[in-house]
């Protein structure tokens, strides 16, 4: 989450886990208990975490599809415009608009647009860039799983979260006002 979203009063609770199934169970229960899950930090893509956190399906597939259609249109337009309108050349008697022969380049451009734009949007959406100054939990890229809960005004949230975390085998629970 971006730094600007951080409000001064909001506090976070973090539970550190060593096992994949513990963090999954903790996240599930925290959500059932109505706690707001800020994010979960894991060393690899944990299966079932999307559902446990209640994440919506990403719309990046649609972006990739639209980008592909754009590539297709651009590829066809480029070839038809240059070969039929701008400077028609007779090559071995083939018709100016020799459409089936335009398919390979059109296909390649479809794939190229779709792939590059999908990756570009992924990086933008996740704010991943070369000079990112994001903070990282110690050992989370190694073997630790961290579940961070955003506390609302209700005072009981912190206690509740700590209880959920320890019940599911958290090795440590900490509270702070700016985690990651």
């Amino acid at each position: 989450m971006p730094a600007t979203d951080r409000q001064p009063n909001v506090r976070y609770m973090a539970g550190f886990f060593k096992r994949e199934r513990d963090v999954l169970a903790a996240v599930r229960e925290a959500r059932r208990a109505g706690l707001q899950i800020h994010d979960v930090y894991t060393p690899f893509a944990v299966h079932g975490m999307d559902r446990a956190m209640g994440l919506r399906r990403s719309r990046l597939t649609w972006i990739a599809f639209v980008a592909g259609v754009m590539g297709l249109a651009a590829g066809l337009a480029l070839q038809i415009w240059t070969s039929v309108y701008d400077w028609p050349l007779n090559v071995g008697g083939a018709p100016f608009n020799s459409f089936p022969l335009f398919i390979p380049v059109t296909f390649e451009l479809t794939v190229l647009f779709s792939g590059l734009i999908a990756i570009g949007m992924l990086l933008i959406r996740n704010r991943l860039w070369l000079f990112s100054k994001r903070r990282v939990f110690d050992r989370v890229t190694d073997d630790l799983f961290v579940c961070v809960i955003k506390q609302s005004d209700a005072a009981s949230d912190a206690e509740e979260a700590a209880k959920v975390f320890t019940r599911h085998g958290a090795i440590r629970v900490t509270e702070g006002d700016q985690f990651v």
């Binding site: 792939g115 992924l122 989370v140």
Partner: protein, 468 residues
Amino acid sequence: MSVAVEHIPEVEVKPEVERPVLSPLREPLIEGHKTYSEATADICQLLDQKPGRGWWLAFSASFSVLVAGLIAIGYTVVTGIGTWGLNKTVGWAFAITNFVFWIGIGHAGTFISAILHLFNQKWRTSINRSAEAMTIFAVICAGLFPIIHLGRPWLFYWILPYPNARGSLWVNFRSPLLWDFFAIATYFTISLVFWYLGLIPDLATARDRIRSRVRRAVYHVLSLGWNGSHRTWSRYEVVYMVLAALATPLVLSVHSIVSFDFAVSIVPGWHTTIFPPYFVAGAIFSGFAMVMTLLIPTRKFMHLESYITLRHFDNMCKVTLLTGSIVALSYLIEIYIGFYSGNRYEVFVIVNRALGPYRWAFWTMIACNALIPQLFWFKRVRSSIPLIFIISILINVGMWFERFVIIVTSLHRDFMPSSWAMYMPTMTEVFILAGSFGLFFTLYLLFLRVFPVISINEVKGVLHYARD
């Protein structure tokens, strides 16, 4: 910098994978009951080590060969294509053979990273990183040859459809050579970003634990601030899947388009509708052979036996056997259709290949591609690393000869006997071929030193496989 929020004390928690309860149905993908931190340590410590004598030996050998190749390329560019053995009849030979050979090698990497991902083949996780690296280096080697072949390589950008001062005279979109350019440029770009996307989480892992300050700074920039957030992971997985779905038809299209270079012409022996599937199968066949050739020493010298297991080789041998059998079947169909056509030129090409002056190349191809890989039917062969290594090299030799046979034997004796000719490569051409191997191995050896050789995050996801 990666800032440790707070130091986490070591707490004794039984790791999930410690319990060696094995599934009765499946074998584990990673051997040795590794924990997450052991997996990280095993792969990251390779980056901290100073290269050993073996690495320096291999590196200096491949780099010397690369320099020899560069000299040969320089000589060709300065003097002209006359330094090669080409003549009026055989206008395409060594360089195009090498081009098709290298492009084919690359296909296995994409097959492993994209197609096996779509089919949820979890064993790919140990080998996809190095196979994708191989793809990229092979495509670089391949791209070199058409450019040198231009004669005036500094004008290679004329193949781009850009508005120019020649009227805008556009490129000819009906030419397979132009399709080739688009296919290979797209293939290279998509393979590169796909590979890099897979690397990001591992670069973050390396960033968080490597000792060298310079390297840490480099990994810090390259890992793009990755912090393992699941919101990021979730979108990452979606895009990874999208790219796999895009790379799958892409890889099939690339070698199909390469085969169009030949199939669209009217030269007997080239003008065949079977070429696209035949080329794609051959590409995956030769690519898997090259993956095995590279991984056998990599695994041994970098002590990765727990990650790249005999099971991986067994599976790769099976893919090689399948694609090799498709290739063998294609040879038979090509011969059969040649005779069945009743066309005297087609029949002549078939007979001339098998019994003519280049029969040694043809029979090398048949032996290495159609016969020797059939040994992989035997479990004993599939589980013997030395045998796999030898067979994989023979397959590469065979697949290089396949392209040589297709290109040279079709051209050297076509319609007019008065223009028949022979082709033999000059030393310059041999050095350029050797130089491309030098480039390939130099890049691969550098990769082994610079990036995590095995996808750490994906391996962690399959540590539990068949356990508990």
